[in-house]
Amino acid sequence: MSIKTSPLPLKERLRKELANPVMRTAIANAQDLLNAKRDAAFAELGDFAKWRETAGAIRSHVLENLDFYLSRFAERAAAAGAHVYFAGDAAAATAYGLQILRDKKAAKAVKSKSMVTEEIGLNRLLEEAGLEVVETDLGEYLLQIDDLDKPSHIVVPALHKDRERFREVLAAKKGYTGDSVPENLTRFVRQLIRKDFLEADVGITGCNFAVAETGTVTLVTNEGNGRFVTTAPKIQLVFMGMERLVPTFAELDIIFSVLARSAVGAKLTSYMSLITGPRGPQDADGPEELHIIIVDNGRSRVLASEFREVLRCIRCGTCMLECPAYRHISGHGYGTLYPGPLGLALVPVLAGYEDYGEITKICSLCGACSQVCPVEVPLYEFIFEHRRIIAEEQRLGAGENFLMGLYGAVIGNSKLYGMATRLARFSALAPRAGPLAQWTAARELPAIPKTRFRDWFAARGKKGNLP
């Protein structure tokens, strides 16, 4: 996989998702449940405004001094015995990983959930090279066995499926014969993948945040699979986005406090793994060899742009859970690995307007995302600004450019506006095509009265009431 998750054009993606009632019910229920849990968790913590201001300032400080923190992290991680590699792009990151696996003659890898490995298309490359790769996060596992379905959310990848669908997939692909009770489904998968954990030569993980001061990489998970991935195999590969650093454990505490609450409405995740170097002589478990691959893949471009602060993002996914558009189309409607408001703000600058500018249309500019972001990424403003750049660079269709130019000319001139609004009453005669058809497919158009407000106001005292 890469950032692109669907070959379909935008409107077809939306049509397909809007016609999927299972997904729409699942996402709506998940949004309502998780948002209520999030709000309760922050209410209990108190002073959300101060927390997010502090968390945002930490992230902003790191971005401001990223060169310093990256080199400090690399130095401290190496001192702890890890191999650190800077990968400029997806190809460099995957090539490095593949080389390690070849050198070690590895046959099987177990993975915990990681968006950056999805971004660089790691699984496909490893499988093409003849390796078996097993996703061990329950949601990711389900997607993997369901003919490589795509994640619809960055924290809860199978958010678009309900448990009945989960049962069907397990039955069809793995011979499951039980019911759809979540505990039973989970128990079945646990038994299946235990063998994989024990057989795997390599564990592959992402990194929620790396601590520069100590050279530590961290993982927060809820299922315990991340802990297994980082303890059983002899070799561990950690892929981390270049910006995912905090200075010290003091800042990590604050970031994780808002991350767990924003992502799943919990004070803490069930598991928090802190890994500093490979296993030492006194350690009971852990990898003998630890490789940390720091992935740029467009992030330097974001850092140098006016959208730099989008790199504050801690990947909690709460903007998606809050978004009223995401609610009806899930991550799949966006056709991008990073969907929702974050996707709209990040992907066009991470991977280019040419392919991804269009997703900025999937927003009604309601502003809900900006209000819940726990690190104060100005998502609304960034989406608004992307649209300005896209229009200015003439990336929209000729028809839209013409209509908008015409509209601008009319409202920019009092006389033209007066003439156009006099004609508006005849709109009922207009053919139901183009923009009007988009409106009338599900909605009635209001009838436009003969008398405009301005006519009434001018005639007050003379003629009296509006007809």
Binding site: I329, G408, I411, G412, I448, P449
Partner: protein, 242 residues
């Protein structure tokens, strides 16, 4: 002395919903304001700006800036949170023109959304309004989230005799209008509107009340298509009902 108010009608109310604008004017007059309407005004330019067409919106923005600062009034009042938001954002459009930016700030400072103006500037209640039935209030996004006007509409509606306000599921969620969003991605926009309308209906509301004609037009489009017995009203119409 009675406050002098320049009324900014909005293009939508001027053309499609003149009753809303007329009731807003009557309401302001009832509360003792002297209301003027400069007929050179057109549209705030938000549909263009939100779609990215800032250059195309520039002429309209300059025109409103000039027109709304022409009349010697104390305030500019407008019956739409969304259009007020756009006017308050005018300084952003003149990053390289400090002179115009100053004027834009001046305009932004004196511009108020109708209910915000009544409650927080005039400090008034609206006596004598009556509407019998259950009403769902839609807190439009630009008004509540971006302008921060959350309480004034409710404070005013609570004074309306006979009116029972009902809460409904997803009340604070966007109705899916979003200006050109509603026609660019009409199917998605409609899906958002349908969910909102179904929730309003489930709450047993006879009326849907809001303070932004754009959102109301969107929701009314669904309500009429589905032939639901829900009457859609702008808050100015409710406050002038008796």
């Amino acid at each position: 002395m009675s406050p002098r108010v320049s009324f900014f009608a909005t293009c939508l109310a001027d053309t499609v919903f003149p009753h809303i604008a007329a009731d807003a004017v009557r309401l302001l007059e009832k509360l003792g304001c002297r209301v003027t309407f400069n007929p050179r005004q057109t549209c705030c330019g938000q549909p263009l700006a939100n779609a990215g067409f800032h250059a195309e919106a520039a002429a309209a923005i300059r025109l409103q800036l000039e027109v709304l600062l022409t009349d010697p009034t104390d305030y500019v009042v407008c019956p739409s949170g969304s259009c007020v938001l756009q006017i308050k954002e005018y300084p952003k459009f003149f990053k390289n023109r400090p002179d115009l930016q100053d004027k834009a700030r001046q305009l932004g400072d004196k511009t108020y959304e109708l209910t915000d103006f009544i409650v927080n500037v005039l400090g008034r209640t609206v006596p004598g309004a009556r509407l019998d039935g259950r009403a769902a209030y839609h807190p439009s996004c630009h008004l509540t989230r971006l302008l921060g006007v959350t309480k004034p509409p409710l404070a005013l509606l609570e004074q309306v005799a006979g009116l029972e306000l009902v809460d409904f599921k997803g009340q604070d969620k966007c109705c899916g209008f979003g200006g050109t969003f509603a026609v660019k991605l009409g199917a998605l926009s409609s899906a958002m509107a349908v969910e909102k309308v179904e929730n309003i209906r489930a709450a047993g509301a006879h009326y849907l009340i809001g303070a932004d004609a754009g959102c109301l037009m969107n929701l009314q489009g669904i309500i009429r298509r589905k032939r639901y017995p829900i009457t859609v009203l702008h808050i100015a119409q409710v406050l002038m009902a008796d």
